[in-house]
Every structure is written in C-alpha cells, then in structure tokens.
C-alpha cells in the first residue's frame, strides 16, 4: 500500500523550526471537513437553543412584546411554592427511588454473572427489554394497569380478597406508582452497565479472597463492590441526571397530580412553557435545573470518584 510509505518520519536534520502555523490543506483539512456537518448540526440544534434559552430566561412577555427583565425570572423562582414542591418531589425520587433501583440493579448484575443461574441470556434480555420500550407507550400501559377501577392490578388484588389501591389518585400511592414505573424501566439498564464492569473484575481477586477466608458476603464487600466503584459512579450520575430531568412518566401517569404530589421540575417547566406560555420563566427553570445537575454531578464525582 502506498500509504505505508507516507507515514515515514522525517529525518531529524530536516526538523528545523517552521515559520507560522501549519497550513490546512489536503490531508490536514479532511478531518475538519468530515466533522463539520456534525458540528454544524450540534451548533444549530444544541448550542443555539441552549444559548437562546438563556436569553429568554432574562425576558418576560409583557403586552405581547419580549421585555428584558434581568434576573426577575430567577428571583421569582425563589418565591414560587410550586417550584419548591417540584424540587422536593424530584429530590424524594432521587433519594428514595435511585438508591433502591441501584441496589436492585447491583443484585441483578451479580445474579446475571452467576454461573449458577441457568438461561442467563434470557434473564438479561428480559430485564433490559423495558429500556427499549417507548416512554409514552409504557406510561400509557402503566396508567391502564394501575387504573383504580378498571386496572388489571386492582382486579388481581381484589380477586384474592384484597382492597383496591388508589394507585394514581392518592398522593402517596401516586408517588409509589411513579417509583415502581421508573424502577421497572431503568433497573435492567443499570444492571447491564454494572454487569459489564463486573465481568472485568479479575477472577484471581476472588480466589485470593477465598484463600484469605472470605465468604460470599466478604468477597462481595471487599472485591465486588470496590471493583464496581467506577460503574456505580457512572450509574449514579446518569440516574441523577435522568431523575432531575424526569418528565415523561409523571406527565403521562399523573400529570403531576394529585395535588402536585408527583409534580417534577421537568413537568413544571413544561407547564410553564406550553400551558402557561411563560417561556422566559420556563427557561429560568431549565437553567436552575442545569446548574443543580452540574453541582450534584460534581459532588458525586468528588464523593464517589477515585481519589487519584
């Protein structure tokens, strides 16, 4: 191949300092040309909206015209009880559902990895499948399943003599339903990430642990968990970002109700933009959320990340 010869390093004596930057021609230019479409799309559909959203967050529509109001939308957030309710609800999901889900995912990953389990591929597939289900489709299915009067779940409960549960109509149960739906959807996904990491833990470490007298619990605590650390960090950060942005499930299942029990920041943002036409305020919420996610991400890296 002719290309093999072109890569020959230049003789050292010719490496005299060259005047000016290298010219972007031919081969040097090609990579930039190739990434240009992606960059242009990124700029048009990501950077521009993000920047424009910030501009919007400093404006308010007064009598049909966009008026610059400075930080008004941001200070308004501080006095808005619904924003705090949404923040609180989102935090509850973050503090309750995410740890439960990740613990479950870790358990599943260990089970998937176990030689004792037969037909492992079927189980892995089965638990991962919810992830590829369309968000709206599964939201609708859950709302049908959990319907208080006509839902399958209550029908089953009642057929064994239990009382019907107000899944979506009682504030506490609505939160639990939301948690159940989220867990069903994302546990398998996290388990697969953890499983991938689990398979990279050297077998010898377990052998060494066993030689040192560690049982199953000891091996899990001293080998599996430390080995999973980077994957746990990844799943925690991804779940945090995902949870803070959560929108589809509460929007479809409960519309944020009853009485704002499942109102999340994502749903509140949507309501402000597309129900109340208050784009400036919605943008301010989006930016507050982005800052929050940034801070939480940073904290998680500091706490869980490697100390190197």
């Amino acid at each position: 191949m002719s290309t093999a010869t072109t890569r020959r390093p230049a003789p050292a004596r010719r490496a005299a300092p060259r005047p000016g930057p290298p010219r972007l021609t031919g081969r040097r230019l090609a990579p930039y040309l190739f990434v240009l479409p992606a960059l242009a799309l990124f700029a048009a559909f990501k950077l521009y909206p993000i920047a424009w959203s910030f501009v919007l967050s400093l404006h308010k529509t007064i009598d049909g015209t966009d008026t610059f109001v400075g930080a008004d939308n941001y200070t308004r957030l501080l006095d808005d009880p619904l924003f705090w309710t949404a923040l609180k609800n989102t935090a509850v999901i973050l503090l309750v559902q995410v740890p439960v889900m990740l613990a479950l995912a870790t358990g599943l990953a260990v089970a998937f990895n176990s030689a004792v389990l037969r037909a492992r591929a079927v189980f892995r597939l089965g638990f991962f499948l919810p992830m590829v289900t369309g968000l709206v489709a599964y939201g609708v299915i859950f709302s049908v399943l959990l319907n208080e009067k006509y839902g399958l779940v209550n029908w089953l409960l009642q057929s064994v003599g239990l009382d019907a549960v107000p899944w979506l109509t009682d504030p506490l149960w609505a939160r639990i339903s939301l948690g159940l739906a989220l867990t069903w959807h994302y546990t398998g996904y996290n388990a697969v990430i953890l499983l991938a990491r689990l398979q990279s833990i050297p077998r010898e470490l377990y052998d060494a642990a066993s030689v040192d007298g560690a049982g199953a619990v000891g091996a899990f605590r001293h080998v599996t968990l430390p080995g999973l650390r980077p994957a746990l960090l990844l799943t925690t950060v991804l779940s945090t970002i995902g949870t803070l942005q959560i929108f589809d499930e509460p929007f479809i299942l409960t519309h944020g109700g009853p009485d704002n029990a499942t109102l999340t920041i994502g749903v509140y943002l949507y309501q402000n933009a597309f129900t109340f036409f208050d784009f400036g305020y919605a943008s301010a919420i989006a930016y507050a959320l982005a800052v929050l996610i940034g801070i939480l991400g940073l904290v998680q890296f500091k706490v869980l990340g490697d100390k190197s």
């Binding site: 319907n147 009067k149 036409f277 943008s283 991400g297």
Partner: protein
C-alpha cells in the same frame, strides 16, 4: 478545594447534559409571531388551505368541503384532526416559532383564545380586515365581546356557544321517586341525591377528583358562572376566593361528604365509562355533551332527560354560557383571503351549522341557525323533550361576560389543585381558595380582589 482540569470537564459535561433539557424551551422563539395580521394575504378564490381541529368538529368540516368546493372549486381544503388537547400544544409551539408550520385555519377554545392573542399579538390575523364586522350581530350575545374584546380587532369568528346543562337519567329519578323538575336549587339537588343514592345506589354525579385532566374543574366553573362570577373580574383582578367561589366549592364539598360524588379520575375515558356503566344519575355538562351521550349509549333512548341546571342560590339564574369555540386564521398564513372564505362558509351559513348540529349536537353561536325546525322538534333520545329550545332559552337569557384572561391556564391549575385538596383531603373550601388566589397573584402579578 482543588479543582482539577478533569473535574471541571466532568462538571461541564454534567452541566451540558442538564442544559440539554433547556433546549425544550428554546424552540419558543421570540413571541412575535408572523409578520402580518394584515388580513389580506392571498387570493379569495384559489389556493390551498389547511384547517386544524379535533374529533367531531374536524369530521364535520371535512364533510362540508364538497359543498364549499361547489362554490369555490379552486380552493383546496385539507382538514386535519389534531386531537384535543394535543392541538393546544401544537398551536402554541407553532405560534412561538413565528407561525411556521401553522395551519391557515385554527379551531380555538375560549380558554385558549385570550392567551394566544395576548402572548402572540400578531399570531392570529385580524378578521375585521377581511370583513368580519358585518357579522357582529349575527351571534349569540356576549360572543362578539369574546372574539373582539377591545372592539376593532377581531381575533376569530364564534362557532359553538355552550350553555350549562343538566343531563339526567330519567329512569333513575323515577325509580327513586324524585321529581327532577322540582329541583330549584343545588341545595334541593343535594337532598335529592341522598334519596337517589339510598334507593338506587347510584351517585348523583362524577368529578375527576385527583384532577388528572384540567377538565376536572368544569363543574366548579359552572357553579361559579351560574352566579355570574368567574376566576377574574373584567379588569383582570383575581376573584378566585370570592363569596361565590367559596359557595361553589362548599357545595362540592357537601356533595362529596354525603358520598354523592363518584371519582372520574382518568378524565374523558372515565367519564365515558361511567356513562356506559350508568354510575351517575346526572351529567352536569354543557350543550354539546348531549350529542356525546346519544353516541355513547344509543340503546338508552328515552331513558334520558335534559334541563337547565338548578340555581346556586334560590331565585338565581340557571342560564350561563359556559364555553365557546371559534375559528381563527393564522397571522402567518399566505392564504388568509381563501381561509376567510372557508371560515365564513362554515360559520355564517345557517344550513351548515344546522347540519353540524344534526350530526354531532354541536350548538351554534349563529342565532339564525336556530330558526331551523330541528331545534324545535322533540328529541326521541331525551324523552320527547325539545332539547334545542331548552338551550336556546339559555342562550337568549341575559348572560354576563366572563374574562378568561391570558392567565386562565394558571388559574385552572390552582383551582383544580384546590378542588383536589377539598375532595381528597377534606380541606376547608374558603382556606384553599384563599391560598389559591394568593398563589395565582404571586405567579401572575395580578391583584387579588377581595
């Protein structure tokens, strides 16, 4: 704390991931939609126009296209059923995007019209420039004030005008031995409901208690409008915790505490299921809902009756125009003149409105349409009653103007939350409404009038 370059990059990544969501609002644009509002674009005799509506009305407009084309053969009309409530999001985003992708003709409810007009001043064409003013007196009273609140500019043309109604299962009332005609006030109705519950096991009526849809406040709103009151006064002040509102919410609490309210959580589907299952004795919905009942339970012909609702206070009114819908033309439309011809054809020709009423029971705002015998004929489904005349009487009765304002959606949100607190947690009506009014004031900067 030492922040490494890697740490900063990581945080930046997380921040960008968060900001990804902010892209959601970024398609909102500047709010200055369209360039015209001039109301004269395009030819009046040829072109292609698109119409956005939902379900029944969309089907009816589609059915009118051949007749329209007999007169305007060169105007091609495409009617799209966008679905309700999906249509509101779709119109909002398109208006916010400067009108791009918007249909030429838009079917808009009274609850959304003021918001669109206020937030997107040029989003809708000014129909006065197309000749709308000649129809000023053609519609039911109060309707012109709704479409042209400041006079001069006309934002839309009225289509349906719905009066508060009281559909009931005549057979259930009979079985319980309650004379439905004798119910003068809602207090009487609470007592009747107790008898019906005891004798037949049926609830008096249903409400979407956890407010899974904004429709959940329809009954509350009707009780308010029967008293001539609303969420805002005509100057835009908040009147959410007025004595009338407290009275309406207290009535709902009384009904609920007496076990007379079934839960319609799930919104529309639950409502239709409850009608099929015969859960409730009364469906307190406006004019257009009669058509839905006929469609849903055709086998119950003769078992249903209809009347205007009881009054909230003895001697008060039992007539209220509780909502209306309209056809508007997009300010960004290049075919405004052709679009106007279609709007005019559908809304100002009595024969077309009569056809729509016959097929879907949608009540016209066009007064001349009521000259047709169909409005004065006994209805087989409603036990031989003259349903059309009942609602025509309501439409002709004095009806105050209601100010929906641009903040109606926000008001509805705090009202449905307040109602849920009352229905699910037994909260005090006066207290929750006061809190709701204050919250609305905080959110909108409007004054709470007390």
């Amino acid at each position: 704390m030492d922040i490494t370059r890697r740490g900063v990059l990581r945080a930046g990544g997380a921040l960008a991931a968060g900001a990804g969501l902010s892209g959601l609002t970024a398609c909102s644009g500047s709010g200055a939609a369209g360039d015209s509002g001039s109301g004269a674009a395009g030819s009046a005799t040829k072109g292609e126009i698109t119409v956005w509506s939902w379900a029944g009305p969309a089907a009816e407009m589609k059915a009118l296209v051949p007749a329209f084309n007999a007169q305007y053969p060169d105007i091609k009309v495409t009617v799209q059923d966008i679905g309700n409530p999906a249509i509101w999001d779709k119109i909002t985003t398109a208006l916010a995007a400067g009108g791009s992708g918007l249909a030429d003709v838009l079917h808009i409810g009274v609850d959304y019209l003021p918001g669109y007009v206020e937030k997107f001043p040029n989003g809708l064409a000014d129909l006065s420039k197309l000749g709308a003013n000649q129809y000023k007196d053609a519609f039911a009273q109060g309707m012109w004030a709704t479409v042209a609140p400041k006079g001069g500019r006309v934002n839309a043309l009225p289509w349906e005008a719905n009066s508060a109604g009281f559909y009931y299962r005549a057979d259930v009332f009979e079985q319980a031995g309650v004379d439905v005609k004798a119910l003068d006030t809602w207090d009487d109705t609470v007592e009747a409901g107790k008898v019906i519950k005891a004798k037949t096991g049926k609830y008096l009526l249903g409400i979407d208690k956890p407010a899974s849809q904004p429709d959940a406040a329809n009954f509350f709103q009707m009780l308010l409008q029967l008293q001539g009151a609303f969420y805002f006064d005509l100057d835009g002040g908040i009147t959410l915790d007025s004595p009338q509102a407290v009275r309406a919410m207290t009535l709902i609490k009384q009904l609920n505490d007496a076990g007379l309210v079934s839960d319609l959580s799930g919104g529309w589907n639950a409502l239709i299921s409850s009608i099929k299952a015969g859960t409730n004795a009364v469906v307190p919905w406006p004019t257009w809902f009669g058509g839905i009942i006929e469609e849903t339970v055709p086998q119950e012909k003769g078992k249903w009756g209809v009347r205007l609702p009881p009054t909230v206070r003895r001697g008060g009114s039992n007539a209220a125009t509780v909502n209306s819908t309209h056809l508007a033309i997009a300010g960004s439309s290049k075919q405004q003149a052709a679009a106007w011809k279609f709007v005019e054809f559908v809304l100002t020709r009595p024969e077309n409105q009569v056809k729509i009423y016959k097929e879907k029971g949608i009540a016209p705002a066009l007064i001349k349409a009521y000259e047709d015998p169909v409005f004065h004929a006994p209805s087989e489904f409603f036990s031989g009653q003259k349903k059309g005349e009942i609602f025509l009487n309501a439409l002709e009765a004095p009806s105050p103007a209601y100010n929906y304002s641009a903040d109606y959606a926000r008001a509805l949100k705090v009202v449905t939350d307040a109602q849920t607190k009352v229905l699910l947690k037994g909260a005090d009506p006066a207290e929750v409404l006061k809190a709701a009014a204050d919250q609305l004031g905080q959110q909108t900067g409007r004054k709470v009038v007390r």
